[in-house]
């Protein structure tokens, strides 16, 4: 039935203006849908890539993030004795006490302020996060007011350039290095010596203890031991899981927002398609009568008009996705709602999103075309022929 397909498609080409406008409406909806889902996807990827599977993050029980957590010195010492902890190249246990605080900094571009994660680290922290690679300068020396910043911080915040001084916690800190942490949350962090930060912020407790498992399957045993140790009020999570949990709230929010918003918008696009197809049917009533007279069945008429509106949906979907795919070149920053800190990430287009957005658009086309197509298929032949 190539001729019927040609019939439907050529009719779309004949009324270019309405085709373009209707498809543009759908394209906008698909664009909105795809971009919000791409945002959620990008966020998830960034946070999930931040963690590694062999690392365990130990937090105070019930605290959702490092910011809310507190691990006392005595408890940290007990964590460090766990036998499942891997040994570092120096033969010592690969474990790091870390402190996470949020500080306010000013964005270079907009002069507005945002929360930034400051992480107090020890030497092992760098070994535990191989994705954090020094790009420029050096690592801060222990016992000195020096910091190293993620490249996303260096790019976006005032005073975060190499060699400058940052005013954090009432003191000045020299930026001695910039690290590249790829597409991970660490890129949006400032790292310095944990003991210096503990003093500066007058904190009695660390935020977390991070260690590497000597074997990845030892997680259950270390977790069980720490859960059953009466001295510990802590909770161990795989680092990947920790970051996945962090991203879940926001990405779920984005997805729900995306779907709700686009469902509302899509209503408009469907009505638009419906009006377009309705007038297409009205304008071609005589044609429909002729086709029926020649012996074409009702379902062929139905199909021809459905194909037409599905094609509208297809064009809209393709254009919307093409537009959304350009967003991949942009990096955005948002507040990580779990820690209320600034986090930079990119829109990420996946095959799954393409598939969903196209299906969504085709469904809009289908719903818009269904009633007009049914009307066309149900027309009385003699009455339709009178409309020539």
């Amino acid at each position: 039935m190539g001729l019927i397909l040609a019939y439907s498609l050529r009719n779309l080409l004949t009324r270019k203006m309405t085709t373009v406008l209707t498809a543009a409406g759908m394209a906008l909806v698909v664009f909105a849908f795809a971009s919000i889902i791409m945002l959620a996807e990008g966020l998830e990827r960034t946070l999930v890539d931040t963690g590694s599977d062999d690392n365990v993050v130990v937090l105070r029980r019930g605290s959702g993030s490092e910011v809310q957590s507190g691990v006392g010195r005595d408890q940290a010492a007990i964590v460090e004795t766990q036998p499942e902890i891997a040994l570092g190249p120096d033969g010592k246990k690969l474990v790091a006490r870390e402190l996470v605080v949020l500080v306010t900094m000013t964005r270079r571009a907009s002069e507005t302020s945002a929360n930034v994660v400051v992480r107090g680290v020890s030497e092992n922290s760098y070994l535990l996060r191989p994705q954090v690679q020094l790009a420029e300068g050096r690592i801060p020396s222990p016992g000195v007011n020096e910091v190293v910043v993620g490249q996303s911080i260096a790019q976006r915040f005032k005073g975060a350039e190499l060699g400058n001084e940052l005013f954090i916690g009432g003191r000045n800190w020299r930026v001695v290095g910039i690290f590249d942490a790829g597409n991970t949350g660490f890129s949006s962090e400032i790292w310095g010596d944990v003991d210096q930060f503990m003093q500066t912020f007058r904190r009695p407790a660390y935020s977390s203890v991070i260690f590497r498992l000597s074997r990845t399957d030892l997680y259950a045993s270390v977790r069980n031991r720490m859960d059953s140790d009466p001295r510990l009020t802590l909770e161990a999570k795989r680092e990947t899981q920790y970051y996945r949990d962090q991203s879940r709230a926001l990405s779920t929010f984005l997805r729900v927002l995306g779907v709700t918003l686009t469902l509302v918008f899509s209503f408009g696009a469907i009505v638009g398609a419906m009006i377009t197809m309705h007038s297409a049917v009205a304008n071609r009533t005589g044609e429909i009568g002729t086709l029926r007279a020649l012996g074409f069945q009702r379902r062929t008429i139905l199909l021809a008009f459905l194909v037409e509106s599905l094609a509208l949906g297809f064009i809209g979907g393709a254009v919307g996705l093409a537009g959304a795919s350009f967003l991949q070149f942009f990096t955005v920053s948002t507040t990580n709602f779990q820690t209320f800190s600034e986090l930079a990430f990119s829109f990420t287009l996946t095959f799954d999103i393409v598939y969903k957005a196209m299906s969504f658009s085709l469904i809009m086309g289908f719903l818009g075309g269904l009633l007009p197509a049914l009307r066309a298929a149900r027309m009385n032949i003699v009455e339709a022929l009178r409309e020539v």
């Binding site: 001729l3 050529r10 007279a293 020649l294 012996g295 074409f296 069945q297 003699v382 020539v388």
Partner: protein, 233 residues
């Protein structure tokens, strides 16, 4: 040999609370290979009768059989199939599909047959040669004159080789020369191809081409009025 047998056919339309009788107790036989002209004043029910014979509409009562088949008993699906096999349509305003070329318009009815693409092409070309438009295959209806469009429509009507051709005022929208072309073609379809042709017309010159004239007045078959006869012969 009769092809179309119409027995006690009546049809009326209901408008509001009153019934408008359009056809009243029509009895008519049309022979195989006959070329018949259906005439009568406007509103006399010519188109309605033609639509009944062509299986586009159904009568309130009575029987219409074509080639031994009682078409009043067919479901609308079977009727559509029956039309595609047995009836060719020629309309006053040609009714070509504007987005399809002349060739594609003629090929269209063949989609309903089991023919291969190649066979469809051959048949469509033959039909277009018959109406002398083989050099206009790729023209769209909008690029053709009224007379040419009606010839394409005739090619479309005969391409699937139906027994019966129905034409509702086929020359009604044409100038004299084009009308003459179209009428000659219709004569040939009847004489050379042996089609049974039923043509509704207001034009006595057109009616003169037919073997027989049938008059309809206010929904009943009537004898030819004096003035029409004198004008015709």
């Amino acid at each position: 040999m009769t092809l179309v047998e119409i027995r006690n056919v009546s049809k009326s339309y209901i408008k509001g609370d009153q019934t408008i009788p359009v056809l009243q107790n029509i009895n008519l036989s049309i022979g195989r290979k006959e070329f018949i002209a259906l005439m009568g004043p406007s509103g006399s029910g010519k188109s309605t009768l033609l639509n009944l014979i062509a299986g586009l509409d159904s009568a309130d009562s009575g029987v219409i059989s074509v080639d031994g088949m009682d078409i009043s008993s067919l479901s609308q699906r079977d009727l559509a199939r029956w039309r595609s096999l047995h009836v060719g349509f020629i309309f006053q305003f040609y009714n070509l599909i504007p987005v399809l070329t002349a060739f594609e318009n003629v090929e269209l009815p063949l989609l309903l047959t089991g023919l291969t693409k190649r066979q469809r092409r051959e048949h469509a070309l033959t039909a277009l040669q018959l109406v002398k438009l083989e050099d206009r295959l790729d023209h769209y209806p909008g690029q053709l004159s009224g007379g040419q469009q009606q010839r394409v429509a005739i090619a479309r009507a005969v391409v699937s080789d139906p027994t019966l051709l129905v034409a509702d005022e086929p020359t009604g929208d044409l100038d004299r020369v084009s009308a003459e072309d179209v009428l000659q073609l219709m004569e040939r379809l009847s004489a050379d191809l042996g089609k049974t042709v039923i043509m509704v017309t207001h034009d006595p010159r057109a009616a003169r081409k037919a073997h027989r004239m049938q008059f309809l007045d206010k929904g009943v078959l009537a004898d030819a009025p004096e003035d029409t006869l004198s004008e015709c012969f």
